[in-house]
């Protein structure tokens, strides 16, 4: 059983932002945001026809700036959020906005006429997440399994929780300034159409003193040792009340109700932490990756030592993703231009090793064969994908097909790969 060859799609521009269309559970669809300083940026909606191994694309214009992060609503296929750079002559500001794509593109791969350059469609701005007071947006997270009303964005050293109203067309953040710095405080601002709750707080109580000068004057961010969130994930467990963020070498967990820190993994990595992901099936398990080329797995109840460490990449690991259904499958992308699929059976929710009653049913011959296949797999690297020529900044599992994933390298190459069949059947059977 030959594995299908990877499918490669090339974008004209450099790209970093990749996301599956989270709300779509039937079709395999990824969204890619491009980075170009001189041309209008685009969002490519890439449909993958699994049967025929064909890619269909639709291009949306994203004229406000180059896209650094993209995420899609878990409830509405048509809604997505981007973090983009707004560039003026002397200043670069990363902003975030929520958009709606044209209805006809929401679902189904309409054969768009190939003259995409002339006939590209534009996104409809739903609301702009105003961050002028909070700094550059690092990423936008949607509440997992929610109704697409709550999002959290990370802006420099702020965590902002937004509440979107159904009819929102515009979002303006108007936080009431003041209050003391060392206290967590909550503000709510209300306008005619949008309700936005803003939680803003210091990174930790201990670090308040250090961060104070930067916070008090938001223009002087460029200084020594600023603390910026680099990445974050919203935990699907605990009623979606927890998020985890990464800044510098530290990983922190927050409770979104109290907005207090619930755990902190100091020095989670030797160098910068680049990305995080929650195990979708085990509520306390968390994966992180970073500039020390390692991927680490943590039990958030005991953060003194990682549960497991992978050292397979030869440069920074930018992305780590758990498979949504089979959490032993770990996907990592790195600037060594490789994508690595690992099988972490020992710390997954799957029972380690196989149960005996499986074997009892099958007849002798089958059993013999099965025994060979079903030997409990060890934690191992399943495959290393080397289709990329440049640094891989994003890897994502498809939301529709748990055996399929996409990876995006800086040169704009999107590669769609599948989990090897042997492993797939081993897991399924």
């Amino acid at each position: 059983m030959e594995d299908d060859a990877p499918v490669i799609y090339g974008l004209e521009f450099q790209a970093r932002a990749l996301t599956p269309q989270t709300a779509e559970t039937d079709a395999i669809r990824f969204l890619v945001g491009t980075q170009s300083l001189r041309y209008d940026n685009q969002i490519h909606i890439i449909d993958f026809d699994d049967e025929n191994n064909i890619i269909n694309k639709n291009v949306l214009l994203h004229q406000v700036g180059e896209i650094w992060h993209i995420s899609t609503s878990p409830a509405d296929k048509g809604i997505l959020a981007t973090c983009y750079n707004k560039t003026s002559d002397t200043k670069v500001m990363t902003c975030a906005a929520v958009w709606r794509m044209p209805k006809e593109l929401e679902s189904g791969s309409h054969e768009s006429p190939d003259d995409s350059s002339s006939n590209t469609q534009t996104l409809e701005l739903l609301c702009h997440l105003d961050n002028t007071a909070h700094g550059n947006m690092a990423c936008v997270m949607w509440e997992p399994m929610g109704d697409g009303k709550k999002i959290i964005s990370l802006a420099d050293n702020n965590i902002l929780l937004w509440d979107l109203q159904e009819s929102s067309t515009k979002a303006v953040l108007d936080p009431r300034e003041a209050q003391k710095m060392h206290k967590v405080w909550i503000e709510s601002a209300e306008e005619t159409t949008v309700n936005i709750s803003v939680y803003r707080f210091e990174v930790t109580c201990q670090q308040i003193v250090r961060t104070l000068p930067q916070l008090s004057s938001s223009t002087a961010l460029e200084g020594k040792g600023q603390l910026k969130f680099t990445s974050g994930r919203w935990s699907p467990h605990h009623n979606c009340t927890q998020i985890a963020t990464a800044n510098d070498t530290t990983v922190r967990g927050w409770d979104t109700r109290s907005m207090r820190q619930i755990y902190c993994i100091e020095n989670a990595h030797g160098q910068l932490v680049r990305d995080l992901d929650f195990n979708p099936n085990k509520q306390y398990y968390l994966a992180s990756c970073g500039d020390d080329c390692k991927v680490k797995f943590w039990d958030t109840r005991n953060v003194t030592e990682p549960v497991k460490t992978l050292e397979e990449h030869s440069h920074w690991v930018w992305n780590v993703r758990y498979n949504h259904s089979h959490d032993q499958l770990i996907l990592t992308g790195s600037s060594d231009s490789r994508v690595i699929l690992s099988n972490m059976v020992s710390i997954s929710s799957e029972p380690f090793g196989h149960m005996v009653d499986d074997d009892e049913l099958s007849d002798q011959e089958d059993q013999h064969q099965e025994d060979k296949i079903k030997e409990p797999l060890q934690d191992s690297v399943i495959a290393t994908y080397e289709e990329h020529e440049d640094s891989v900044y994003a890897v994502e599992w498809s939301s529709a097909d748990p055996w399929l994933f996409a990876s995006l390298s800086y040169d704009g190459r999107l590669v769609i790969n599948r989990v090897p069949r042997a492993l797939k059947y081993h897991i399924l059977l």
């Binding site: 090339g10 041309y39 020390d292």
Partner: protein, 782 residues
């Protein structure tokens, strides 16, 4: 015939004549001295047949005068004839006189014989009469003798009877005296009393049906019982010398006390005695601390040799004596003795073990070895009695040896850690400016030498255990297993393994989280140390060990040298990789911060190379020096002749600007990627954090790769203005100028810097590159 007789009669007298005739007869002369006699008394037929009759032989039997005469006459001249005639005449006369003399003598003898016979006839007649007389007298004597003896017989019998009665009476007297004697001796000389009683006992028992004897017997019995009683009390109550004890029990045995009971008594007495000795030994040991070794016990009063000496002379000696006499007393039945002795021996072993456990320090190994040796020798005597103890004793010695070896291993480890601490201190010590501290090679040599020296010293100490004059060294354990398992595996291999593990510990250990990381120089030093171990030291140590402790052929499997070498090499590799990562990360961190914190949009036109770049070059130069102290140069890929002059970045003035421009024209947006992709097709993929080789160039290349890749990734995260791009250009050129010489393949540096430049151009809002000549000028200015 007459001639024959004459010839024979004159045989001896006429010795001269045959010689004379022999001269004339020639070949037929005397061959043997007894020839003539033999010939006379009958020559053997064979000889007769062999020698034809010679009629000319004057002495021969076939002498024919006629032939002789004819022969003589015809052969001899006249003179000779006359001489012969005269000679013959002399001869004949001599023979005649001889014959006369003989005849006369024989006649005389015959006459005297006749006289003697006549005289004898007369004498015998006298003798017969005297003989008859003698016979008559003898008969008379015998008759009177018979009469006398018949007369005395009766008296004689009576005398004999009386003598018998007297002996009996004396015996009776003795018997009667027995109780008295017994009583007298029982107090003072029980042994004599016993002998006395033993003699009397049989008689008394035999005549016990007679009342008087019975009385005596009863009395003596009572006395003996009393004696037995006293002996038993003594046995039970007093503490006796082993000798006294043996005597006592021996006597009791003679008194026919039950052996079973006695042996029990004996053992309990002996036990008490031995217990006392054990207690004396135990008193020397500090009280057993059940809570473990919370408090360090004070050093024992006497050294181990002394302890063992006393233990063996007192306890083992006594035990042997007692066991020997037990066997003598109670015969071969050792069913009771063995468990008894075994229990005591076990306790003794336990005590000794406790004492050995007190030998915490490394102290004097020779003392320990001698002590163990003495213990083992002394114990041999006991072991003959108690074969089961042999294993226990051997195991004890082996354990002690093993324990000592383990302790040496720990000491070695402590020593190594101490050395490492020294090295760390030397590395960390602030150096006065201008004066270099001890260089890395010196530190390494010092470390390696002191560790090796220590290891050798330890091996020398351990070798004492297998010295030839040590008794237990001939045990199979010490010949085989000790050498291999304890020394080679347990000490040498374990130490090398531990060393590698410790070295690796600096990499895998807590360095990442919390605890202070090892200084990079230490990593480098350890990497070199491990590499040296792999190259030479391990095989040297193993050879040394195998020489000093020759392994048995059938012994347990040993760790082969290559496996250890591989371990050391892996450790070295890990350390060096880590060194590269640490140093690379340090440089990379610097670059990252410098890129992240700068405002690339609002920057002014570059006039200088940024200070951080100079710092990077300085740091890498310093690393180059550091690595160069310990590692070889390594090989570089051949360089093109104009390598140093090669223009940095695709923006170089030598290139037509138009060649790069198309990527920014909307008409062909794909070209850039095509271009860069095609470029990449022809360049190898560069692994950034990849294992390095053991040479300077490779290490430096690794560090430079990490640094430049970081620069690339960081630049990609920024948005640059025109001057920002130009600054990157300047910085890149500067790096290119100074870094290529460190890398094994200059193209790697070039490729990475090209990518940095390309990325910077992509990330630039207004990509107007600086004139290459200006860039060069700025860089040259410093």
């Amino acid at each position: 015939m007459a001639a024959v007789t004459t010839g024979s009669g004159a045989g001896s007298g006429a010795a001269g004549s045959p010689e004379a005739t022999g001269g004339s007869t020639g070949g037929g002369g005397w061959r043997r001295p007894h020839g003539p006699l033999q010939r006379y008394y009958g020559p053997s037929t064979a000889e007769a047949a062999e020698a034809p009759p010679d009629p000319t032989d004057i002495n021969g039997p076939h002498f024919d005068p006629e032939v002789f005469m004819n022969k003589v006459r015809s052969e001899c001249p006249l003179g000779q004839l006359l001489a012969r005639e005269a000679a013959l005449g002399r001869e004949i006369r001599a023979l005649d006189s001889d014959m006369q003399t003989l005849l006369y003598e024989n006649y005389n003898k015959f006459i005297s014989a006749t006289d003697t016979i006549r005289k004898m006839k007369v004498d015998f007649r006298h003798m017969e009469a005297e003989m008859d007389d003698l016979a008559a007298n003898m008969a008379a004597i015998s008759a009177s003798s018979a009469r006398v003896s018949a007369a005395l017989q009766d008296r004689h019998r009576r005398g004999a009877q009386l003598a018998g009665v007297q002996a009996l009476l004396r015996k009776l007297q003795a018997l009667v005296e027995v109780p008295g004697r017994l009583r007298r001796w029982a107090g003072t000389e029980p042994a004599r009393a016993l002998r006395c009683h033993a003699r009397a006992r049989a008689v008394l028992r035999h005549y016990r049906h007679l009342p008087s004897f019975r009385a005596i017997e009863d009395e003596s019995h009572a006395i003996m019982a009393d004696l037995a009683q006293r002996l038993r009390t003594r046995l039970r109550e007093e503490t006796l010398d082993p000798k006294e004890l043996i005597e006592c029990v021996e006597m009791l045995l003679q008194l026919e006390e039950p052996a079973e009971e006695l042996s029990e008594e004996f053992l309990s007495q002996a036990g008490a005695r031995l217990e006392a000795e054990l207690a004396a030994l135990e008193a020397e040991l500090p009280a057993a601390d059940p809570s473990g070794t919370a408090t360090t016990p004070p050093p024992p009063a006497s050294d181990i040799l002394d302890f063992v000496d006393r233990g063996s002379s007192a306890f083992v000696g006594t035990l042997c004596q007692l066991a020997g006499s037990y066997r003598a007393l109670f015969g071969g039945d050792t069913g009771r003795l063995e468990p008894f002795a075994a229990a005591l021996a076990t306790r003794y072993f336990a005590l000794l073990e406790r004492r050995l456990a007190l030998e915490r320090g490394l102290g004097d190994t020779s003392l320990l070895v001698r002590a163990l040796d003495r213990f083992h020798r002394r114990l041999r005597a006991l072991l003959e009695l108690l074969p089961a103890g042999a294993d226990a004793a051997a195991a004890l010695v082996a354990r002690a040896a093993r324990e000592r070896v383990d302790r040496y291993l720990r000491a070695l480890q402590t020593f190594f850690l101490g050395c490492l601490g020294d090295v760390r201190q030397a590395l960390a010590a602030p150096r006065p400016p201008g004066k270099e501290g001890p260089g890395l090679p010196e530190l390494l040599a010092q470390l390696a030498a002191s560790v090796l020296g220590q290891l050798k010293a330890v091996l020398a100490y351990v070798q004492l255990f297998t010295a030839r004059d040590i008794a237990f060294a001939s045990l199979p354990y010490f010949k085989g297993e000790f050498c291999v398992t304890a020394v080679r595996e347990g000490l040498v291999v374990a130490f090398v393994r531990w060393l590698c593990r410790t070295a690796r510990g600096f990499v895998d250990g807590p360095a990442e989280r919390g605890a202070p990381a090892a200084p990079p120089a230490l990593l480098l030093l350890l990497a070199r140390l491990c590499l040296d171990y792999e190259n030479s030291t391990i095989s040297y140590i193993l050879t040394l060990t195998d020489e000093q402790f020759p392994p048995q052929d059938s012994g347990p499997a040993v760790t082969p040298g290559p496996a250890l070498c591989a371990e050391a090499r892996a450790a070295a590799q890990r350390l060096l990789d880590h060194y590269v990562q640490v140093q690379g990360a340090a440089v990379a961190q610097m670059l990252r911060k410098s890129v992240e914190t700068r405002d690339w949009l609002g920057t002014v036109e570059p006039r200088n190379v940024r200070a951080v770049m100079k710092r990077v070059v300085e740091d890498i130069t310093a690393i180059d020096v550091q690595v160069g102290q310990l590692f070889e140069e390594g090989v570089r890929r051949a360089q093109s002749s104009d390598s140093s002059r090669r223009a940095f970045s695709v923006y170089s003035s030598s290139r037509a600007p138009g060649r790069y421009a198309p990527s920014y024209t909307p008409s062909a947006p794909m070209d850039t990627h095509l271009l860069s992709n095609i470029q990449k097709l022809f360049s190898e993929r560069i692994d950034i954090f990849s294992p390095v080789e053991f040479n300077k160039v490779s290490v430096l290349t690794g560090i430079i790769k990490i640094s430049l890749k970081t620069l690339l990734e960081c630049v990609r995260l920024r948005t640059l203005g025109r001057f920002g791009l130009q600054q990157v250009q300047v910085d890149g050129h500067y790096l290119q100028l100074y870094l290529w010489r460190f890398a094994s393949d200059e193209r790697v540096v070039q490729g990475l810097l090209d990518e940095v430049a390309a990325s910077a151009a992509h990330r630039c809002l207004d990509p107007v590159p600086m004139e290459h000549s200006v860039v060069e000028l700025i860089c040259e200015r410093g």
